[in-house]
Amino acid sequence: MDLRREPVRAGVTSPTPGREPAVKKFINHPDAVVREALVGLAAAHPDLRVDLEQQIVVRAEAPRAGKVGLISGGGSGHEPMHAGFVGLGMLDAACPGEVFTSPVPDQIVAAAKAVDGGAGVVHIVKNYTGDVMNFQMAAELSGDEGIEVHSVLVDDDVAVEDSTWTAGRRGTGATMLVEKIAGALAEEGADAAAVAALGTRVNEASASFAIALTACTTPAAGRPGFELPEDEMEVGVGIHGEPGRRREQLRPAREIATMTLEAILAAKPVAAGEDAIVVVNGLGATPLIELYLLYGEVAGLLESAGVRIARNLVGNYVTSLDMAGMSLTVCRADPELLRLWDAPVRTPALRWGV
């Protein structure tokens, strides 16, 4: 078959349904992106249960009697978070919402019913107005069904002032650390209150700061969320394509690493001699070569400060569609956190020790 041949059905002018060439992405239709990506996730990872009806991703062996169920969720567009963190030693279920839109209560309740093994569930919620409201409504509904619900609120983004003048600090890069470390404790059989308390402790020990070099384009909007001149960067961005706290001239990576690390350590100090888990995270369109370059700068700065990087991750874990940019997360670690960080994990995006 000659695939280069001109279509024979010349003269057909009406567009094929779903064929809208305006958005330059690998999609069929903006409305179907989340669902069709879940179809692909299910095909790639048969060890996950993907329920397209309820729009939830569940660990195959859930519910496990006596084990606390860890549930997270949020808008889609941050992949691999959260569905990529479902599996042994991490989440029991993920609830993906529409792109950059929190999931609805029905999804979260369906996830709780699917993973509750009698020991209750823990919600891991990023601090955004919509996420907090939908998880809160779901917690009440699940409670009515007799499921014990505890919650961890993640608000690690120190670019935002935590004050009465904002919705509070956003939940960003530290969400992955909370899910990994709390997930490891849940796997060991700890109760829901203990798992939630540990998740909160990880959040309190962590701080993040992000810089964007470009805006991202949601499939529905079809154009970048904001215009950014070639020689400028957005400082203090979130993970939903919104502009940052301020716009500055682009600077060398060393200065950017210094600026972000200083903001993080000012908010959550790590003393000389202490351990840290450090994540240099790409926001979606930044190549690994730049992330490693930045990690080298951060590692050098922390070494000068006498802080030991006990563990690290460099890569794309908490993304913002096709935004070019990076976030830095530093978590002050102690032996318990490091032990649980090292515990076995088997998910699409994180796997070690198994």
Binding site: G97, P103, Y128, W165
Partner: protein
């Protein structure tokens, strides 16, 4: 306010939100995350579908079903906020096939109370409340002034509410956001019209249009 008018209002709101999806999304792109138009369109489209398959006995049941559907289908902050407002409106209305303009006004205020309780926003925070609160005040003032007899009273009050919502919406432009995602921008949120206040105006304008015919 009867079932037919309740349905006509939600239908008109769905039409308006569908027609203005792009505009709401552009407003949201400036200070939020570019999803408000799409989410509201999806939500009110789902309300239309849910109502088409239901036979509610009174306007209260229409609004309760609309609210429940919005909570289930929209997500984000606007789903719970608008959903709770419509549910509270529905539950506040007395039983029966028809309610008078004063009872409907009390229902609108119950919706505002539910929204404020859930979102914690005050007037001036650059949110839905900046359009909703003046709309309810204007509705009540119009009823007090002209009386609420028959559908004429409701139509005049709804017209006043839509006008006040528009004014409140325009007044969000110079405000700095203190709630929701726009608050992360700090001073950079100044100079942009709030998308939530804009969708609230569209919904009150739809009420005025439906009540006028």
């Amino acid at each position: 306010m009867d079932v037919a008018l309740a349905r006509a209002w939600l239908d008109a709101a769905a039409d308006a939100l569908a027609a203005r999806t792009e505009e709401l999304t552009s407003l949201d792109a400036a200070i939020g995350d570019s999803d408000h138009g799409v989410n509201m369109n999806r939500g009110f489209g789902a309300v239309r579908t849910a109502l088409a398959g239901a036979s509610p006995a009174g306007p209260g049941a229409v609004f309760t079903l609309a609210g429940t559907t919005l909570v289930s289908k929209v997500g984000g902050a606007s789903g719970p906020l608008y959903g709770s407002a419509f549910r509270a409106l529905g539950k506040a209305l007395p039983e029966g096939a028809e309610v008078d303009a004063a009872a409907f006004g009390a229902g609108l205020r119950a919706g505002l109370d539910a929204l404020v309780k859930l979102g914690g926003a005050a007037p001036g925070d650059k949110t839905i409340v900046d359009a909703y609160a003046p709309a309810v005040d204007a509705y009540d003032a119009a009823l007090r002034e002209h009386g609420g007899d028959g559908d004429g009273g409701l139509a005049a009050a709804a017209r006043a509410a839509a006008g006040a919502a528009a004014e409140g919406m325009r007044a969000t432009v110079p405000l700095q956001a203190r709630k929701g995602r726009a608050s992360y921008l700090g001073e950079r949120s100044i100079g942009h019209q709030d998308p939530g206040a804009t969708s609230t105006w569209l919904i009150f304008q739809a009420l005025a249009d439906a009540a006028a015919t």
